[in-house]
C-alpha cells in the first residue's frame, strides 16, 4: 500500500450519483431519477486545501461523501494515493479508511452523548487496533490538548461543551489516526463569528503541521477565500468552474460563480448597491459561449458544454463555438 509517487492525495474521476426516489401518484408509486452529482472530476493535491463551493442541493456534500465511500457512486472512480478504491470491499477498504477522515457541520449529532470526550477521541485508535488501552487514552488526551482543550476535558461529556469546543473534539477524533485526507463538510457554518476564526486557524495550523490534504466543503465564500488554495464551484450537480482561489475571486468566468460572488454581503456600508438577480432557471441556461481564441488549452469540437481551460489552472464549463 505504498503510495504511488506524485499521485494526488485524492482524485475523483467522472463521479456520478443518481438517487431513485419514489413518487406517489394516488395508489401508484412510480420512480424518479434525481441526478445529484453529474460527471464530477476533481483532484486534491498533497498538502493542499481545495474548496468545494455551492448552494444547498448542488451536490457538494454527496460528492464529499462519495469520496469517503460513505455514499456509493453510480459511476466513476475514486483514487486515494493513486489506488482505485471505488469497488473495494469492506476488508480491503479498512486501511484506506485510516487515511481519510471527515468532520461534519453538526458537531452535536456527530459525537456520541454517552461517551466521554477521551473515549470519543480514542475510538478510531480502538477500531484500528493501534496501541494499548493506556496508550490510546494518553494519545486522546494529547490530542485534546493539541486542539486547544485542556486534558481534564477527557472525562467530560459532549453536552458540557459549546459548539466551538465540540468541533475541536470532532477535529481531534478525525486527525488522531494521522490521515492524509480530511473531508471537512461545513465545519464552521454553525459557529459564532469569533469562534469561526478560531476553528479556521486551527485547521490551517494542523494542515501545515501534518501536511494534510483537505477537501473543504462550504457555502461560505468568505471562509473559502481565507482557507483554500483552489476552489471548485458546483451548481446543479456539476462542477461549473475550477480555479486557484484568487482567480475565482478576481476573474470568475461562469455566470453562476459571478452570481455567488455578487451575493456576498460587502463589509462596507458605502458600497451598498441594488442588486439584480438571475433566476435559477436563467442561471441553469447560462453556460457561457466561448470563442476558441479565448481558450488556452485544447478543446474537442461540439455544441455540448465541456470544461475548457481559460487561464493557468483555470477551468470553466462552456460551449465552444
Amino acid at each position: 500500500m505504498t503510495p504511488a509517487p506524485h499521485a494526488p492525495a485524492l482524485e475523483l474521476r467522472n463521479l456520478c450519483k443518481t438517487f431513485t426516489l419514489p413518487v406517489r401518484n394516488g395508489w401508484r408509486t412510480s420512480h424518479f431519477d434525481h441526478h445529484a452529482v453529474k460527471d464530477v472530476s476533481l483532484t486534491l493535491p498533497r498538502n493542499a486545501i481545495l474548496g468545494l463551493v455551492g448552494e444547498s442541493g448542488s451536490g457538494k456534500t454527496t460528492t464529499g461523501m462519495m469520496a469517503m465511500r460513505l455514499v456509493e457512486p453510480s459511476s466513476g472512480q475514486i483514487l486515494v494515493d493513486g489506488t482505485d478504491i471505488t469497488t473495494m470491499d469492506h476488508a480491503a477498504l479498512k486501511p484506506f479508511r485510516r487515511k481519510m477522515q471527515v468532520v461534519f457541520q453538526d458537531s452535536y449529532s456527530a459525537l456520541d452523548p454517552m461517551l466521554t470526550l477521551g473515549q470519543i477521541v480514542a475510538e478510531p485508535l480502538h477500531i484500528h487496533g493501534v496501541g494499548t488501552a493506556s496508550e490510546q487514552n494518553e494519545q486522546a488526551l494529547a490530542w485534546l490538548q493539541r486542539v486547544g482543550l485542556d486534558r481534564s476535558y477527557g472525562s467530560r461529556y459532549p453536552h458540557e461543551l459549546s459548539g466551538g469546543q465540540r468541533q475541536r473534539v470532532a477535529i481531534a477524533r478525525a486527525l488522531i489516526l494521522r490521515p492524509t485526507v480530511l473531508v471537512a463538510d461545513e465545519p464552521t457554518s454553525a459557529l459564532d463569528v469569533s469562534v469561526k476564526a478560531q476553528i479556521i486557524n486551527l485547521l490551517l495550523d494542523l494542515q501545515a503541521e501534518m501536511g494534510l490534504s483537505i477537501l473543504f466543503i462550504s457555502h461560505d465564500l468568505s471562509v473559502v477565500r481565507s482557507l483554500t488554495d483552489k476552489v471548485a464551484v458546483m451548481f446543479n450537480g456539476r462542477v461549473v468552474e475550477h480555479a486557484p482561489t484568487e482567480a475565482i475571486f478576481t476573474d470568475a468566468r461562469h455566470p453562476y460563480t459571478r452570481s455567488l460572488l455578487d451575493a456576498i454581503p460587502v463589509l462596507n456600508p458605502r458600497l451598498r448597491r441594488t442588486r439584480t438577480f438571475l433566476s435559477r432557471a436563467e442561471l441553469a441556461s447560462s453556460t457561457p459561449h466561448l470563442a476558441r481564441a479565448d481558450l488556452s488549452g485544447p478543446v474537442t469540437p461540439g455544441p455540448m458544454p465541456q470544461m475548457v481551460t481559460v487561464g493557468t489552472d483555470h477551468l470553466v464549463e462552456a460551449i465552444v463555438a
Binding site: 469569533s194 473559502v224 483554500t228 484568487e246 475571486f249 452570481s259 460587502v266 463589509l267 442588486r275
Partner: protein
C-alpha cells in the same frame, strides 16, 4: 416619533441552576422609518431583547424589568391582552429565522395569511384572500394563487421566508422586527431577501430592527447599529462610523476576525476564549476576559454606556 423606546431593560430567567441574566441594563430607541441593526453572537441577548419588547416571553420564568419599554407610545409593561393583540400585527410585526417552524405545517399558507388578515380587521374571506394574493405579489412571488394553496413543506426556504414577510406585512405594521431572517438561507437567496426587506422598508416607510450575527448583513441593510455582548450593549452608532472607526475593543476584534477580507490563504485574527456563560457572567465588563486592553478596573466594575462622540455611545473604560 419614537417607535421603540427601551430604557434600562433587564431580562432574567429563573432556571434550576439559578438566575440567568440574558439582558442587563439595555437602552435603545428606533424612530419612525429608521432601521436599526442589533449585532451579537449567540447568547448576547439580541433576540431576547426583541421578544421582551413584544412581550413574547413567558413570565415567569422570564422576568422583565425596565425604566421604560414602549412601542409607538404604548407602555408594554402595563399593556393588557387586548392592547397586546392590537399592537402585535398593527404596530409591530416579527419575522423569524426558521420559516419552517414559524408556519403551522397542517394548514395552507393561504389559510394562515387569511386568518391573520381577518384577526386584525373585518374582511370577508374572498376579500382577505385577494389581499393575501396581493401581499404575495408584493414580496415578488410569481405564482401567488398556487402558493396560497400550498402547504409549508411544499415550498423552499426562500419562498417560505417571502411568505412570512407577506404575513408580517398584512396589517401594515409601523415597525418590523427581523430576527436572523436570512441565516438559514443560501447566499444568493439571502441577498434577494435582504434586498426585498430594504425595498419594502423604504416603500412603506416602516421602522426596522434587524437582529443578526452577521456584520455583512448589517453593512448592507441598516442606518444605525447596536453591538451586544454578554447581555449588554457594547457600542452604538451610525453604520458607517461603526465600520470606519469601531470604538469598542469587541467591535474592532469582531470586524478584524471576519474571513475573506484580503486575498490569499492566511490565518485570521481570532478573539481568544469563549462567550460568557449567562448563568455565571464575569464581573465588570463582560468582554474583559477576552479583551487585549483589559486591566483590573475592567474586571472590577462594568463601564457605563456613555457618549463618546456625536450620535455615538460605548461602554468601555478606555473610551471614557
Amino acid at each position: 416619533m419614537r417607535l421603540v423606546e427601551i430604557e434600562n431593560l433587564s431580562v432574567s430567567f429563573a432556571q434550576a441552576e439559578g438566575v440567568v441574566q440574558a439582558v442587563r441594563g439595555l437602552s435603545l430607541h428606533v424612530d419612525a422609518g429608521e432601521s436599526l441593526g442589533i449585532v451579537g453572537e449567540s447568547g448576547s441577548g439580541k433576540s431576547v431583547t426583541c421578544m421582551a419588547v413584544l412581550r413574547l416571553l413567558r413570565e415567569p420564568p422570564a422576568r422583565i424589568v425596565a425604566d421604560r419599554l414602549a412601542l409607538a407610545g404604548t407602555d408594554m409593561r402595563r399593556a393588557s391582552k387586548r392592547d397586546l393583540s392590537r399592537i402585535r400585527g398593527r404596530v409591530a410585526a416579527m419575522i423569524f429565522q426558521d420559516p419552517m417552524t414559524a408556519f403551522d405545517p397542517v394548514f395552507t399558507i393561504g389559510h394562515q395569511i387569511i386568518e391573520t388578515v381577518r384577526a386584525h380587521r373585518p374582511a370577508s374571506k374572498p376579500e382577505a384572500r385577494s389581499e393575501a394574493e396581493a401581499l404575495l405579489q408584493r414580496v415578488e412571488i410569481k405564482n401567488p394563487a398556487s402558493v396560497l394553496d400550498s402547504y409549508p413543506h411544499q415550498l423552499s426556504g426562500g419562498m417560505l421566508q417571502r411568505a412570512m414577510i407577506a404575513m408580517a406585512l398584512s396589517c401594515r405594521p409601523q415597525i418590523l422586527f427581523a430576527d436572523e431572517p436570512t441565516t438559514a438561507l443560501d447566499v444568493t437567496i439571502q441577498a434577494q431577501i435582504l434586498q426585498l426587506i430594504k425595498d419594502l422598508q423604504a416603500e412603506l416607510g416602516m421602522g426596522l430592527i434587524m437582529v443578526t450575527h452577521d456584520l455583512g448583513v448589517v453593512a448592507e441593510t441598516v442606518d444605525r447599529v447596536v453591538v451586544m455582548y454578554g447581555g449588554r450593549v457594547m457600542e452604538e452608532g451610525p453604520v458607517q462610523d461603526i465600520f470606519d472607526s469601531p470604538a469598542h475593543p469587541y467591535t474592532r476584534a469582531l470586524l478584524h476576525s471576519m474571513p475573506g477580507q484580503t486575498a490569499g490563504r492566511q490565518r485570521l485574527v481570532e478573539i481568544p476564549g469563549a462567550s460568557p456563560n449567562p448563568a455565571h457572567p464575569p464581573t465588570g465588563c463582560p468582554f474583559h476576559p477576552r479583551c487585549d486592553q483589559a486591566d483590573a478596573k475592567c474586571a472590577a466594575e462594568a463601564p457605563a454606556f456613555a457618549a463618546i462622540a456625536p450620535a455615538r455611545h460605548a461602554a468601555c473604560w478606555r473610551l471614557q
